[in-house]
Structure formats: C-alpha cells, structure tokens
C-alpha cells in the first residue's frame, strides 16, 4: 500500500503524534510491501520535515507558503487530497488531534473515501486494513473495514508507538500545489495558547479530581501532584458542570477520552460515562474514601482513604523519588 502520512506541525514543531502517524504508516507499509510518503504543510517547514525519515518515511514532501503558516481546514484538506491523487496513494493517515479531526472529513469527501476516526488499532488483513475504534465514549469497540478505494484513518494520539528516530534524514521534496484565495474560506487567524499547559488528550500522565474534593480551591493539591509527577490535570464531569474546572479538562464521554500510561483518579467515584473515557489507561490509581466507589473496580492500585490526607503525602513522596 502506498500510504500518505500527514505530519502535523504547529509553530514549525512536530507533535509526538505526528511521529506516531509516520511510524504506523511504516508498520503497515512493511506488511504490505508498501511505501510511506510523509507530508508536511506550513510555512518554511522544509527544514523540520527531513526529520520524518527517522520514523520510517521513504519520501518526505513539503507544501509551503506564508499563507499556510496558520491552519486552514479548506486549504490543508485540498493539499492532502491533491497530493494523494498525484502520488496515487491508497491510504491517508492523520492524527486524531484537533487539526486532524477537523481536516480528515474534508479529505475523505474530496477523495470519495470512507473514514475511520480515532482508531486505536490498525491491522493489515490481506488487501485491507481492519481498524478498531472506540464508540459510545469507549463503552464498546468497533472493528471496521473501509470499502472505498481510498481509505482515510485518524489515529488516537498516545496509543500507537512513535518509536525512536533512527536518525535517517530524507531529502525533502518541495511540492507546489496551486492555491487560490477561495481555498482559504476557513482560516485560523490567531492561536490562543493556554500558558504552556499540558493538555489531557496529549498527556502521558493525568491526575484527575472529582466532586469529593469539595471545592474548586482544593484542586490546588491536584495541580501540585500533577506538577510533581509531570502530568496534566483532568476533571470529572461533576466538577466541570459545577464550574470548578474548564471543560477542556473534562475526562469522560462528553469530555475527552484518554489513554495515558498512568491515570490517577482522586475523589472520583467512577460514573459510567467517566469510566468510559479513561478505562483504557495503562495503569489506573484510585484514591477515594468510599470503599464501594465503582472506580476501584477498574483501578490497578487503590487507596481507600481521604484524598486530603493522601494526595499531599503522595506529592511529597513522588518529589522525593524524582529528586525534586
């Protein structure tokens, strides 16, 4: 299979998930005697693009111009579709990031292709790929097959291994895709970054707090623990609905579905819609004073005690371990 891997960049930096996409394309190509073409879109991205060789791209293409510095769903999707047609590829892989999720549906329509979104497994089966994707907020998994000639998949970040770069640099081919003003009808005009905060959807460690914390100000101890452990702060729906935390931190069916290496649930009882969003985490720690809280049914390690007693002690202990 000839696979086009879209490697997303922002501010001329790749996300880890971009490497995951290229590496996954490599894995599929290896099983199908295929080829991996990585594509980078932006302004002056040629210099960073060669890095993708280290993750298994045989060819790296850059489409660049000043107007592409900021994301445009209309322009980016046109470029991806045009490049795929030109290269006669059969699979497009993107990451299921904010950009990938926004862009992929347009790419699929342009290529008359079926789309599997937010996949957590891609398995080569003969001439096709079977994708596994969580549905109903993670309460079920669907194995799907795409029956169109071209197939588009978005991959959930943090699930597929990126591996380590082999250091192989590939010569970057700068490709010209002619664009006109009407290709930029949706255009990002400004990026408002929260002050370097780690996003729960991208974090490898998440410390989440629930209603048992009693008040918004008590999230300070969650922030402290997250800070010590190098993780992101998450929240249950109850505390988001109460206005204690922003919705961007909500984990669960109407928030973000996450699969970090470590998920620490503090004073979260474990409502079904919360469990759906985090039960695929590799390790789950639950701290709750209610021994019957459903969260203990999915936790690998539990402490049945008051969070106000445990969390500060845990923060200290972790700081000690990590020499902070």
């Amino acid at each position: 299979m000839k696979i086009l891997a879209f490697a997303e960049q922002r501010n001329n930096k790749f996300k880890k998930s971009s490497f995951e996409v290229v590496r996954t394309a490599r894995t599929i190509a290896d099983q199908t005697d295929g080829e991996v073409i990585a594509l980078v879109i932006g302004d002056q991205v040629q210099t960073i693009a060669s890095e993708l060789g280290g993750y298994g791209a045989q060819r790296v293409l850059a489409v660049q111009q000043p107007k592409l510095e900021k994301y445009s769903s209309t322009a980016y999707s046109k470029i991806i579709a045009e490049v795929l047609k030109k290269e006669q590829g059969s699979v497009v892989l993107l990451s299921a990031t904010a950009m990938g999720k926004d862009c992929a549906p347009r790419v699929a329509v342009k290529l008359d292709a079926g789309m599997g979104s937010d996949c957590i497994v891609l398995k080569v089966e003969g001439e096709n790929i079977i994708a596994t994707r969580p549905v109903y907020g993670g309460k079920a998994l669907a194995d799907i097959k795409i029956n169109s000639a071209v197939k588009v998949f978005t991959l959930r970040p943090n699930v597929f291994p990126a591996g380590i770069s082999s250091g192989t640099a590939v010569r970057v081919e700068v490709v010209d895709i002619p664009l006109i003003d009407s290709d930029f009808t949706s255009l990002a005009v400004e990026t408002i970054q929260a002050s370097g905060k780690l996003d729960v959807a991208e974090a490898d460690i998440i410390v989440s707090g629930g209603r048992g914390l009693k008040a918004a100000e008590n999230f300070k101890m969650i922030e402290d623990l997250a800070g010590a452990i190098g993780g992101a702060v998450g929240a249950s729906r109850a505390v988001v609905d109460a206005g204690w935390r922003p919705h961007s931190e909500q984990v669960g069916q109407t928030g973000k579905t996450v699969s970090p290496s470590l998920y620490v649930a503090v004073a979260i009882s474990g409502a079904i819609q919360h469990l759906a969003g985090m039960s695929s985490s590799k390790y789950i720690v639950a701290i709750n004073k209610d021994k019957d809280a459903p969260i203990f049914q999915t936790a690998d390690y539990g402490i049945i005690a008051d969070a106000f007693e445990i969390v500060p002690a845990l923060t200290q202990e972790i700081k000690k371990l990590l020499g902070k």
């Binding site: 769903s73 904010a98 329509v109 937010d118 408002i192």
Partner: protein, 248 residues
Amino acid sequence: MKLAVCINHVPDTAAKITIAADGKNIDKTGITFVLNPYDEIAVEECLRLKEKNSGEVIAISLGGDAHKETLRKALAMGVDKAVLLKDDSPRDSFSVSRALADYLKEISPDAIFFGKQSVDSDDAAVGTMVAEMLGLPSVSVAVRLEIANGTAIAEREIEGGKEKVQATLPAVITAQKGLNEPRYPSLKGIMAAKSKPIEEKVPAATQPKIEVIALRKPPSKSAGKIVGTDSSAVSELVRLLHEEAKVI
C-alpha cells in the same frame, strides 16, 4: 437569518451499553435515547442567534420514527420547524452527510449547526463532511462564536489552547460544550411542541463506505490491589508505580 441545526437521537451517556446478538449493533432494550448533548448546544446557539437577529431555526434529523422524540425536544426548546429525513437503514458518517447535504442544499441556510460529535459513533465527522459536500467553510469544536457582517468568528478548542477561526457565511459550525448553556424547555414549549407538525422526507439511499465487522465490549479490567487505607500506603504506592508499573 435562516439557521439549520442537524440533530441526532442517541443513547443517554448514563446508559450501559450491551452488544446485540448479531455482534454488530448495540442492544437497544431498556436504553433511554436523548437529543445528543452536543446537538443540544447547537440548538441553543441557533435560538440565541435568532433572538438576536430574528429569522427562523430549522431542526433536521436523519433516522427512523424514534427521532421524532428528539425533534420534539428541539421544538420544545424553541425551533420553528422540524424535519425528519426518514431512513433507518445503516449509514456511516459519509452517507449520513450525503443525505443531510442534499436536504440542506434545497433550503440553503445562512448557517448550519451540528454538535461536534454524536455520542454514539463518536466519529466527529458529519458536520465537516457536510461542509465539504456543500463547498462551505466550517469551524469545528467551537466554544465561542460571533456572527457579524456575513462572517463567523469562532474559537475552537485545540490541544492546550484555542484557535480563532474566521469563516465567511454561509458556513458550518460544530458546537462544543462551553459554547453556551442550553435552556430547559418550558412547560408551554413542551405542550406546544406536541401539536407542531414534523415534516417528513425520504432521502436518497446511499451505500455506506464503512462496514462494521464486529462490535464488542472493551476487555474488562479486573479490580486491582488495594494498597492501603491510610497515608502509610503512600510509599508502597509510589514503589509499585515506580518498580512494578514503571510509569514514574
């Protein structure tokens, strides 16, 4: 302004999901279906825009007769007109989008709203696919929206921040939690909705491009180890995370 909002009828997020005997669908027995939570936000946004700029709000749902319940909820909230694209054959995001796009093309609204995703298939694709099919700009996952002088300026959620996106109308907007707080239908609204007509149309059949081979429950985790019941357990927990799980 002519505003359209596409809504879906989905299992309540509190519902326990079990797999049907065919191994490809969910067992709907005993499940409460509701207006998709994100679509509720989309409906609310339309109502607010209408209140500000006048105009009409048309709610559209693709599905079987059961979807009328969700259309009635939208009517109760205050939409002016409800349309059921009656078809309960299996569809994927592509074929759902095709049916919606065909109808939307007929009514050509100034802005089209969706929830950012349906909490059943969680594809998060239909809104943007419809935009592409109609050749319209779009903003997905909007948490803030201003419409003025034929332009939509929206903020969408991205990793660790937000992105301000500009789109010329007509455009497609998909709503994320935080955009507004949906109203509860008033008793008067609920009563009135009962007698309002729901227009029915039959969309063209479209072959889905996605085939579900199997639907299954995720591997269930067995309850793990209770490390302790007071702060003396903390050092053991850290040891386990460091040495056994190797995650810190």
